[in-house]
């Protein structure tokens, strides 16, 4: 009795509304049985490969759900074999959540993405020079070795000495 006078839930018009309370209650009740469902917010996850290839039906035809799980990618980051898998996901699954997770994991493993060379670099040792704008030293980088006659053409990790990494190119 020391507070504001009681309510008057009745048919009085709402402040500023176009409907009265009774109407609003009826509409709310109806809406209560048509709530958005979780799947209403989820989009089809079908990953459409750029160049779809017909594979035998015994092959998995859709991605395994685990590739959406960040923990799966963190595990890969911990094991060297996995690092190549991270690079594979980064370069072969563009614009997907997998690419995002692979990049996140590579960064956690101290790889740095060079925007100009589209290449991941990792310090091989402490840089000899480091200023506000760049650092210079020896790096490991992940590269595609293109040499037709060379049997071991393909992705590989190479060493680059005396490389200047300008921070303006650091993503």
């Amino acid at each position: 009795d020391l507070g504001a006078i009681g309510d008057n839930i009745g048919g009085n018009a709402n402040s500023g509304g176009v409907h009265d309370l009774v109407y609003n209650t009826q509409m709310l009740e109806a809406a209560f049985y048509k709530l958005p469902q979780p799947k209403d917010s989820e989009r089809a996850k079908s990953y459409t490969p750029r160049h779809p290839a017909a594979t035998p039906p015994s092959y998995p035809q859709v991605q395994a759900p685990i590739v959406n799980n960040p923990a799966f990618w963190e595990r890969l980051g911990l094991d060297t074999l996995g690092t190549d898998t991270l690079f594979f996901a980064f370069y072969y699954q563009p614009n997907t959540y997998q690419q995002y997770l692979a990049a996140k994991e590579l960064k956690k493993q101290s790889w740095r993405y060079h925007r100009k060379y589209y290449t991941w670099f990792q310090r091989h040792e402490e840089p000899k020079i480091a200023t506000d704008d760049f650092e210079k030293g020896t790096y490991v980088y992940f590269d595609f070795h293109l040499a037709n006659d060379d049997p071991n053409q393909g992705w590989c990790q190479r060493i680059k000495a005396d490389f200047k990494f300008e921070y303006s190119f650091l993503e």
Partner: protein
């Protein structure tokens, strides 16, 4: 060229939509066919932004919604088919992305028009179908767009903000007071992780007023339902959903709640104590709050207590609306006791009888809130100026500070029980994190307690504090330090007041609360 008359226009649009569906289902990885289709629409004169454009999108939307259905699967699962809605959403996104625009105009010039068509269609559909209105296809449409536009490169920050503000305007037009049947879908969209966080983060807070307006829309709709402490299941559901949204804001964007607390308190009914406490408990993330129960805590020595809180709400709007601001300023300047200002004050805070019934109170609560905070802010400014110019001064308070106290003492004396409760609430709403307002209004409240000539006033002051403390957490820091001061400082002689012992359960209550406050 599109036929102007409705039926053939509808047929032609339907054929175009079928063609679009076929294209977008192609497995090709490139956008070329879609881009070509969009350019074709543009050449057909459908994307000029005129009334043909509006009819074009309205018909497309009607077709898409008419194809929304819930089909019973063999496994007794209800499968909602959003296919047409998804295809339509993708067409709109492709048009906005690839439609040729005149030199200099924004790529998104069609977005507000398309959203306006969507808003009008939803309003019309809801008004016609009433209880049979189904919000889900429209919800899905907006989610598609929020996800698509959200993937626009953040580099075009301007585009991002243009998109977000266009959606905020559309949601404002679809607010629950206007389309009550869309309320649950509406709140889910407004609080969606692809919308609300983006509206608040980045863009140098330009999005904050938009979300503020949307939350006020929600509170205004709920207000009449929430005046009554007992809620039905339906309102409880809406209320709990609102609490979840406020908790996300309290945790992730507390500064937003801090800066707009004043206008939120205008639209949250006094009975919604916990919901209001969530807003009043917010404090800036870079602030560390000392434990209120720290023994001998010297709150006036806290650095933060000398900093004014940022308030983005328009504090004096209600005073201006009732042509009271000039009189208040005049009184603060002259403190003229002979003026009728003080004696007329109570009357000016009352609502006309015609408005009182649907407002659920005899008083203009926003006006009381505005008067209390505006007057307090004027006094604080002058007190701070005086302290800066004469740090050790023992001279009397500036005139306006005394005038402010005259106003508060007049109100506490002249108002009836209900009016006094609302006035004390307006003060207690300023007891938040350490800042000049918390400090000033804490002192004012305790002063009014010690200065009171009737115990009923002390009881009401205690009630206003206590009812905010006995509800589940969170409790605003300023509220705790004020109550602790009241019960610990012997100057207030609190425990000898008869009302602290008026009934065994009340006695227990005070013991419990004072124990929990340390």
């Amino acid at each position: 060229v599109m036929e102007p008359d409705a039926s053939s226009f509808q047929k032609q649009v339907s054929l175009l939509f079928a063609e679009w569906y076929r294209l977008s289902e192609l497995p090709s990885g490139t956008d070329t066919p879609c881009i070509r289709f969009v350019i074709q629409l543009h050449q057909n004169g459908l994307l000029r932004g005129d009334d043909i454009t509006e009819r074009f999108f309205r018909v497309l939307l009607e077709i898409s919604v008419s194809h929304f259905g819930e089909v019973m699967q063999s496994s007794q699962q209800v499968q909602s088919s959003f296919l047409a809605i998804d295809i339509y959403a993708k067409l709109v996104y492709s048009i906005l992305k690839h439609c040729p625009v005149d030199q200099g105009s924004s790529k998104l010039f069609l977005l507000p028009k398309i959203l306006a068509v969507t808003v009008r269609s939803i309003q019309k559909d809801a008004d016609e179908k009433k209880e049979d209105f189904n919000p889900r296809p429209y919800y899905r449409l907006f989610i598609n767009w929020l996800l698509d536009f959200g993937s626009l490169d953040p580099v075009h920050d301007g585009i991002n903000f243009q998109v977000l503000s266009a959606f905020a305007n559309a949601f404002h037009a679809l607010q629950p007071l206007k389309v009550p049947a869309f309320s649950f879908a509406w709140l889910e969209l407004v609080s969606h992780r692809t919308f609300m966080p983006k509206l608040l983060a980045g863009n140098s807070q330009k999005g904050w007023p938009f979300l503020h307006r949307l939350l006020v829309d929600l509170f205004q709709f709920m207000e009449p339902f929430l005046r009554n402490a007992e809620m039905g299941e339906l309102i409880r559901f809406l209320y709990q959903g609102t609490l979840r949204v406020l908790l996300v804001l309290l945790h992730d964007f507390p500064e937003f709640l801090c800066d707009f607390h004043f206008s939120f308190c205008d639209v949250i009914p006094p009975s919604c104590i916990q919901m209001r406490n969530i807003i009043l408990s917010a404090f800036p993330r870079n602030m560390r709050l000392p434990d209120p129960s720290t023994p001998n805590l010297k709150i006036d020595l806290l650095d933060e207590m000398s900093l004014a809180p940022r308030i983005l709400s328009e504090v004096d709007a209600a005073l201006k609306a009732k042509q009271m601001k000039a009189d208040v300023d005049e009184f603060l300047r002259t403190r003229q006791q002979s003026s009728p200002f003080l004696s007329d004050l109570k009357q000016r805070l009352l609502l006309p009888p015609s408005e009182a019934s649907h407002a659920g109170t005899c008083y203009n609560v926003p006006l009381i809130n505005s008067l209390v905070l505006y007057v307090g802010m004027q006094a604080i400014q002058l007190l701070q100026a005086r302290n800066r110019s004469q740090p050790q001064s023992v001279s009397s308070d500036p005139l306006a500070a005394k005038a402010a106290l005259d106003i508060f003492q007049t109100l506490i004396r002249d108002l009836d029980t209900e009016g006094r409760y609302l006035f004390l609430n307006a003060i207690a709403n300023q007891l938040r994190y350490p800042n000049t307002h918390t400090h000033y209004f804490s002192v004012i409240l305790l002063y009014l307690f010690s200065d009171a000539h009737q115990e009923i006033i002390q009881e009401q002051i205690t009630r206003v504090l206590l009812e905010r403390l006995i509800v589940n957490r969170p409790h605003p820091w300023g509220l705790l330090i004020t109550f602790i001061e009241l019960i610990k400082n012997p100057d207030y002689n609190f425990w000898n007041r008869t009302f602290t012992r008026c009934a065994p359960e009340i006695e227990n209550l005070f013991e419990t609360v004072s124990t929990s406050c340390g």
